[in-house]
Symmetry: C2
């Protein structure tokens, strides 16, 4: 497999492994993110995969362990699902402004993208292997290798079997109608709509049915949410909230902070996303610090598994303005006001009201 | 059916129809709420039901409409489910302190209770009637009558068919091992775990399968969440968020606001509850206005369908203190800081940080 082409349209947050996000204006130019604009979150170098010898192993608590070639996988019924993926560390930069978070990627608010994925429903592959009654979780293992705390290992994670049996969880080999690009997990990745991006394991090599969540570092230790008082020196890694579904979130993509605009009518635009299949019910914008809110217009398209794009016309008098947004999901959940209220030392799941500062002249 | 006995252990918020909630200390004295302490939310007078002639009708988009006597219902397989019910208007009093909400019950924070319900899974009754493929919602109709805007009608509501097919949604005829009391819907009520209480229709007389949600006033018009800028004079009733799953919430039940305590060690206790089957992942308490938080201890017992009781030891110096609590659910969702951030003219779904003011001496 050739090395990844340069991604001139992405802002690179780390060269090796490659991590990059699009510009906010480009991100919301269309409901579906073009493949070359889709954010890239890698924990190791992109692996070279020999398509002839590639096998997907299904083992653990199953009656019929399987080893499936790409040809075997093509014999399952195919499905297509629209799903937005978002890194659990999206909007970490705003948490870093509250208090430093060393050794984690300083994502702005564009580590999120939306695509149409095609492949086979994970449930079909699991049913073919016949899970035992005691199976409760499905662990995923990628072919990408990384190193943490002196150990070298393959990236992995897991989801509850109940979630894995939902029709919309896919083993995807295509993205927006094109073969899955190397940076996005070719030849096969998991797509877990409604969950943090880390569970959508790329370069998938193995599915293991288990009684408990995966013991891979990225399930058992990382991607947990800890209280603000806990730090790297006193953390008990087994105690934090193991992230799965993501909280309701929204971001202003246009205008951007620092923009100078003509005073008068400005159209504010952005995205909103809920976790776990919940729908976006409403997006609000404010120019008085959250004292009063104006309801934004939700653009057509989307489902509980995708973002909603939105826009709101605002009249800005000459001067400095802070524009805020927040969303409500279908469970009447909304966002906290300040990143300080959700700060955590790993910098996950920031869903505070998003704020941009602009000057109208 | 005899008239309801007086409820000396409940605080009556309205005499007719009867609406009442327990004292906060009594509410959390046990994980399961005794029947005589369970909050009562009625929209009309408790109906008199003749058990001999009682029938449950199942109609609408079904192949086999049914009319079931209580004897017929007893022939279905029985199930027991622990579930906490909460009125969508719980904690309205704090919203009223922000801005008046006339004509709605001024619930404190105890319009919530937890019981073990027994009966038949709703899905069994629906499968017996054989829903047509186009059915998407199940409408419930109660025998209780009420009047709104000059019209007299029976209370009703609906849930999506997908939710109705979950094993934990019951047609319950027993509560904590006793026959369902008249005030709680005898002889038969719906119990919809994870949803606002209004969908758990009491004195159930009819299930109607539909393509759209119920057009009953309490589904189509009431129990919708509107923006703060919308009031009774300019509301478009068809636009608000139709409440189903409830947002994550938590309340301090002990000490109570106004309490005078000995300075030193105080154990703060309360409940926390998430919607839609999500688990409570963490409860925090603060004595500095939310600047720093201490993690509470979650008591054993409970599931995603029930509340979690919690406690936290605090050391209070002599003087006035404001104690706050907030919860995180398993989707990393937390609560907004102030009721003003979620105020709405019907006073629903207040899940702001809960605050009690005490004096330690």
């Amino acid at each position: 497999m050739p090395p990844l082409e340069p991604q001139p349209r992405l802002r690179v947050r780390q060269e090796s492994p490659l991590n990059a996000e699009p510009e906010p204006g480009a991100l919301i130019a269309s409901f579906r993110t073009p493949n070359e604009l889709f954010f890239i979150r890698n924990h190791g170098d992109i692996p070279t995969v020999d398509l002839e010898t590639y096998r997907l192993t299904i083992d653990g608590l199953v009656e019929s362990p399987l080893s499936l070639s790409l040809g075997d996988l093509r014999r399952f019924a195919q499905a297509t699902v629209g799903a937005t993926l978002q890194c659990a560390g999206n909007r970490r930069r705003e948490l870093i402004e509250v208090s430093p978070i060393p050794n984690e990627l300083p994502w702005s608010s564009e580590a999120i993208s939306n695509a149409e994925w095609s492949g086979i429903p994970l449930r079909q592959a699991l049913l073919a292997a016949n899970p035992r009654p005691e199976a409760r979780h499905v662990a995923f293992l990628g072919l990408d290798e990384t190193e943490r705390h002196g150990h070298r290992f393959q990236f992995g994670g897991s989801i509850p079997l109940e979630k894995a049996m939902h029709q919309q969880v896919l083993l995807a080999d295509a993205m927006n109608g094109e073969p899955l690009p190397p940076a996005h997990g070719a030849p096969l990745r998991v797509v877990v709509p409604g969950y943090i991006g880390a569970r959508s394991v790329k370069w998938l090599s193995r599915l293991t049915l288990r009684e408990t969540p995966s013991d891979n570092y990225f399930q058992a230790k990382a991607y947990r949410l800890f209280p603000a008082a806990v730090g790297p020196d006193d953390v008990d890694w087994d105690t934090g909230l193991m992230l799965g579904e993501a909280p309701v979130n929204s971001v202003i993509c246009s205008p951007a902070s620092g923009d100078r605009l003509p005073a008068g009518r400005v159209t504010v635009r952005g995205w909103a996303m809920a976790g776990g299949g919940r729908e976006i019910a409403r997006v609000d914008v404010s120019t008085d610090g959250g004292g009063t809110w104006q309801t934004a217009e939700l653009e057509a398209g989307g489902s509980g598994w995708t973002w909603r794009l939105w826009q709101a016309p605002l009249d800005l008098a000459p001067g400095e303005h802070e524009i805020l947004c927040r969303a409500f999901d279908s469970a009447a959940q909304t966002q906290p006001a300040h990143p300080s209220q959700v700060w955590n030392f790993k910098g996950y799941a920031n869903n505070a009201w998003h704020r941009v500062r602009v000057v109208a002249a």
